[in-house]
Point group: D2
Chain length 342, copies 4
């Protein structure tokens, strides 16, 4: 059976990545694609790398007949997303890639995103889209909220460790190195090649990055008490990929064993042999996440390093993984593409 | 039916690219992989991006039982390749990715490659692997010689134009811009990141690049007279891709029409609308080739620009395309992966 | 004696490059810097790499007292420049970095720049700023028009050859590879790191690039007849540098001897030994130009390759070189900085 | 007065960087340059970006007449350096760029560098070359040991804080992001453009990097007790620069005030306004170090970020700064070059 798919906000990087992945998916058929300012254009004109595909012309959201749609990927900007999704008929399953439905608590949402939520009931209903930890809920969900790409990376490292109680909850530091596509296709001076290439810097230093809202929510829930981590992202002169270096207090063997147990049956998460750490390039353009554990020379300190591709496992790949579950397909369908190296 | 596949010389970039592509091919099963100096290692240790795959341990060529092999990809260095292939049982179909069987004329071979050929009969038998122009021969061939990656790019531009007689054969200039993976995994100072990044330069200037042997052979054959082009490659600070800028004398509309006719039914070659030229990034990690035609302001001069990924369409993708034909599979099987952008 | 310097349009890359060079110039003192939209800001806030310097606060042009200024570098956008310079008191010497005064013929100007010139008398008076060829005129000029960066590169290769009559004037092809800082700090999708890194493409194909106006004017003047070349620029995934590959008809030894003679006494132009060609990285952040000559395998065809840094020798370094001459300083003052490698 | 300078080991990146800096130094004259395997070659053939300079031909060390040399920069590999320097006449001042004389304690040396030291007396005599903290000793030293580039970066952040007692000595984490030129011109697969570009990874994880020997020695000395920090370097897809992110326990205002006081009169160290953090690109190819301080959202936690260019301030620039002091020149002579941006 073929599922009829719509992509809203198809002219951004996550939209294009969805099309790339669905292009070889055997049972999904893209029937509608919206892009507000580019309505009327062909996708191949916006993204020439997709010109060989037979895709619907970009349109405005209001031109889409959602009666014909089984599942809708929503890759719209934050705040826009909640308004659009609220208006969709409830026969349509939705995978949202924005930040709008990641936070359950309206006050927390307002704190991190600076305003009242427009669809508070949906905010309660939405399932958090970190597949490996919410698989059963996702299968039956109507609305799944894709996680932040940084938030996904950090949780792959820390979530099992917090759940197992093998690390000190008051001394968790997450130093992230993020490629630039995570910033989207926005026109900013610091994202220009001339300014970013050969340069790198920290940003949102001091605990101001919005993905902390997700960390706080999820880690506190898992721990059964408030957990606040330190989190500093850095912008890298590279296009795809996140590398997270986590500094935790614990025992390296216990940490490794906990991660190995957590991901033993996971198709996309690979725990490396003890002492090895991963390279962000080894998961490029794929849905894989590699994690490595090393004991520090200081007794009781452990470093855990994880990598994934922000556009794939961190966003559109995760979205497709969730869509597969929601539609009753194999979870890995269309996602076993090997990483592109070099 | 599943075909049993061997890859000789699997520890180089073209070997890894073959594995990447075959990973999602439905009817190919890799049963043996050789890598002389890395025999005994797992492929995932040599190329960690492939660690999720269940692959045979790397071995020496002499350890492979070729009775169990239907088709062998040979990604060995030049000169080694001819000795190895000569020794293979003739029940095994072979797609060679080296330069050893590209040149028919032993003297031309000796001129460009600096030595006598060790398998002259095979040199005669081998079919030149530019699929779009040798499709029928490839279907029934036992040995197919993959083309040079630069040679492929230049031929996609020029071959139909020479065949159709729409350009002046004495004024053909091909200025190529080649990404660094074309140089393989060799350890040379000029291939270091510190030396190549932010730098670019011409090489093999003046008509000394070996791929001219292929151009001379193929263009002269197509034209029915000797054709010698000017060809200057440039090394780019990028990892994948070739962009060829061809300067020819002719009529732009005729040139465009000729190319459109030549590639009308080709699944992997896209001719762009008049006046547009392609970006090498729009075919990255894919088997596609994009070609664009522009009239110069000087009457009678035309610029044709083509792009492809040297590791995919220029090498391993082409090899798989040919293997599909040789094994009776759909030519496009495993190759419709969309380009990776950004 | 210290010269009082103003920089108009200091918030772009050429403005910043002027400041970098003047920072160690012994007899120039920057007394005023304008940046319309950033007036009131410190230069160190706009360009943090200059924060250690004691510079005047950015202001609006009308706030500058030009009675206090000996020489003014004008790094304003095209069209703006002519209006501003027309209004300056004629006691101020001016080095303009825009395109406004490069073209002598008002009709040619209108053709390439799409409009009437606002300062036609100055257009006649301005001296073309290619120092090596207009040195004497520059010494006594009040207004010097900096050349286009591509135009400078092409002329270093071709001008002596055309003047000496050693190449066929009807078969000149210039294939340029240009780094992205040539496009300035403009916010365009194709200049984003995510889109440019790992990508390259031709632009202004077919003879539509404005620098052809300079080539046409200068080459025709030197030749004493109309000369039209073919010129195709390509955008490179690199920040600084232009590499020009020229395809000409002639004798390689004659070409080499002509270039060696032309640049024998030039401090900034280096002609390489026969058969060697330059790398753009070897002139990075410097005022040097390297040129190499190679004979093609086809008798009578020659390839000449030249490199320079578009922001230095192609723009701000050239401007400083001219300013030195206009102010009676050593031509090389402040400009002998060695290239930055790696 | 002109000082006669020798550079031993001139064919590596730090040797080339020394030449670049000395090229515009008014009172230093390079009289001899050694490069063992490249003896007999011109420097311009090894590093074409230096071809405009009039430099001595590369020779073997034993060919140098050290009676003619005032100061010798020694850019040889570790272990080689100690043997060569031991044999130099003691009339020659020496700035060593290797690791050989950084560690005072022979046992600590043996632990980190895996062997007995060959010049133990010199090991005692050598002055540690972190100019800002050893200025007086350096002025009268005969032998100065240049610091590790990572070690310099970390000390600029942490040394004043440890000395002032404003941070918790048991909770110091230093996460470094290092450009590739720090690895020198060595031919390794992971340093190839094809492997490093678009990739990044941690290395020497767990407290095994040799620069920890310097941190342990210096921080313990400053603190008057043993101090062990956590230190994880990461290899970046960039050529020059180190960015250090330090996670400390303390009060942000105190930390900032301490750093401001420590560097108030330093010509090369810039402390940014509170809340700002630096970009590695803003110190490129210069001798500057920028430092920024931010309070974390968690009370009592502070993030300090510092950047410098590993080849300049981290190595050859520091060496020249020390040589200036040893020769009685202005400390900043030849070093006020503005950073290169973009």
């Amino acid at each position: 059976m073929t599922h009829k798919i719509a992509i809203l906000g198809a002219s951004g990087y996550t939209g294009a990545e969805l099309v790339r992945l669905i292009a070889t998916h055997p049972t999904m058929d893209i029937v509608a694609m919206s892009a507000d300012r580019k309505a009327g254009m062909e996708m191949g004109a916006v993204f020439p790398h997709l010109r060989h595909l037979d895709l619907p012309t970009l349109c405005k959201i209001e031109e889409i007949d959602f009666a014909d749609v089984d599942l809708c990927f929503c890759a719209l900007p934050h705040a826009t997303s909640q308004r659009v999704i609220k208006a969709l008929p409830d026969t349509v399953k939705v995978v949202d890639l924005s930040a709008d439905f990641r936070i359950r608590d309206p006050e927390e949402y307002a704190k991190w995103y600076g305003g009242q939520h427009d669809a508070i009931e949906l905010q309660q209903e939405a399932v958090y889209g970190l597949t490996e930890f919410y698989r059963d809920d996702i299968k039956t969900a109507r609305l799944v909220a894709g996680t932040g790409c940084n938030a996904a990376t950090g949780q792959f490292v820390l979530r099992p460790l917090i759940a197992a109680g093998v690390i000190d909850l008051d001394h968790i530091i997450l130093d992230l190195k993020c490629a630039v596509s995570g910033a989207g296709r926005s026109l900013k001076e610091n994202l220009l090649h001339a300014e970013l290439s050969e340069g790198y810097s920290a940003y949102a230093v001091g605990g101001t990055h919005r993905h902390l809202g997700e960390f706080d929510q999820e880690f506190s829930k898992v721990a059964g008490r408030e957990v606040k981590i330190q989190f500093t992202p850095h912008l890298m002169p590279a296009n795809r990929g996140i590398l997270a270096t986590a500094y935790v207090h614990g025992n390296a063997d216990e940490v490794l064993a906990t991660l190995e147990a957590a991901y033993a049956d996971e198709p996309f998460v690979e725990v490396l042999p003890k002492g090895e750490t991963p390279n962000v390039k080894h998961v490029r353009a794929s849905n894989f996440c590699h994690i490595g554990v090393v004991a520090d020379r200081i007794e009781g300190r452990v470093i855990v390093v994880a990598v994934l591709d922000n556009l794939t496992k961190g966003s559109s790949g995760q979205a497709l993984q969730n869509a597969n579950l929601m539609l009753g397909e194999e979870e890995t369908e269309g996602l076993m593409l090997a990483p592109v190296f070099p």
